[in-house]
Subunit: 247 residues, 2 copies
């Protein structure tokens, strides 16, 4: 019997998906793939920055099946990938077969899409889902703890939450330590270096009405921003919002 998660992964693998994986309700993961020479620094970066980079699994060198996603093939099972070369986004593509090498190592980091299902089940509305959008993500001025070549600022995801739901939202997401945990900031976007809420750096803009406040969670896109800034030779990631489905 194929699990629902595996069925969805296979659909993605066959190229029958092509959209963000938000709102699906499965446990989901950010993907980072690096050559062995960067692996120690990145593993240490995750250890020192568990909020943006909550490590779920690290593959053995050259391996492309994740234990936490049985029968997965991380070269094909993400709807959209990004290839970074020498500090530039070189390509977006639907599989990474031609880039695969035996010295690559994959890292899976928890994703905030994982806690969205519980928020919804507990009666908290998520506007980006209601509007059929990807979540809004922003670069910030929140510094990460450096580790080797990896240093830079945190990326955050934002969800507008009604004032009356704030405490419940914090309580619920606090339990999801492996999916970024509690918010890193509430309201006052300027304080964390976000200039224009209506112009996210990744994903779609979401309008905020007067009964709502923007709530920010640490985001697994953080390593992508750092790869760009530090001009890493080579790195593969998922495309923001297009995650690996686990289970």
């Amino acid at each position: 019997m194929e699990s629902e998660a595996l069925k969805t992964r296979l659909k993605i693998r066959r190229g029958e998906w092509g959209r963000p994986t938000t709102g699906l309700g499965f446990e989901q993961a950010n993907l980072v793939i690096l050559p062995k020479r960067y692996a120690y620094d990145f593993l240490l970066f995750c250890q020192r920055n568990p909020k943006p980079c909550p490590l779920i699994e690290v593959g053995d060198e050259g391996s492309y099946e994740a234990r936490c996603a049985p029968k997965s093939d991380i070269r094909f099972d993400v709807p959209k990938y990004r290839i970074y070369k020498k500090g530039k986004l070189a390509e977006e593509c639907e599989d990474i077969e031609k880039y695969w090498k035996s010295d690559l190592i994959f890292f899976l980091l928890g994703c905030s899409f994982t806690f969205e299902r519980e928020l919804i089940d507990r009666g908290i509305k998520l506007k980006h889902l209601e509007q059929g959008k990807n979540v809004a993500m922003y670069n910030t001025n929140l510094k990460c703890n450096p580790a080797g070549v990896f240093e830079g600022e945190m990326v955050v995801s934002m969800r507008p939450i009604k004032h009356r739901d704030l405490v419940k939202t914090i309580e619920i997401t606090s339990k999801f330590k492996k999916a970024h945990g509690p918010p890193v900031h509430l309201g006052s976007p300027a304080e964390i270096g976000i200039k224009a809420l209506d112009v996210p750096d990744y994903g779609n803009p979401i309008d905020i009405d007067e009964r709502e406040i923007p709530v920010f969670w640490a985001c697994g896109v953080t390593p992508q921003l750092i790869a760009l800034r530090k001009k890493l030779d080579f790195m593969i990631t998922h495309s923001p919002g297009h995650m690996l489905i686990l289970g």
Copy 2:
């Protein structure tokens, strides 16, 4: 003002201590020091085995001050060290100044001594403390998840707990995720490969009376057993029971 933790560390540094650090009530850590060439595999081993190896901190290459122990010097601040060379215990010593090199990296792993204070405060008697002994530790047949050169079985610490205190003990220690968390086994030592409870592999034997049951927690001595079995060129650790005091 020097904190009580720092005062105790300085006492240890001056060589005025010379006994296990059990029963002290501070947060405490297992110490593993490895050359850079083993660091990636060991960091991955910790990520894959959070129960025996709950990572608290990893130093930068060559650094010997721990952030979680301000003004510490990990070359002097542990009461007793063990030097492992080519799979053998080469020496026990009170400082490691002569062994220090700029390619060494220290790893601090949580220690079960950290949860002992809360057990005592909640009315649970710990016999090894009452008898002025080190805790009893044993090699087992519980396999760790391998990572590179690091593979082998888990070491556990054992505390006799009264039947009426078992549930409370499990509840309390479950909260200490960074100090090995809940027990890995209760009773029936033979099931986890322990032949003689009265002959521990490390620490002191503790007798168990009929109202008690032996309770086993994953132990940070695990990397030492693995270093021996895998014949690592070089590794420095604390001596079992002689921990780094944090805070």
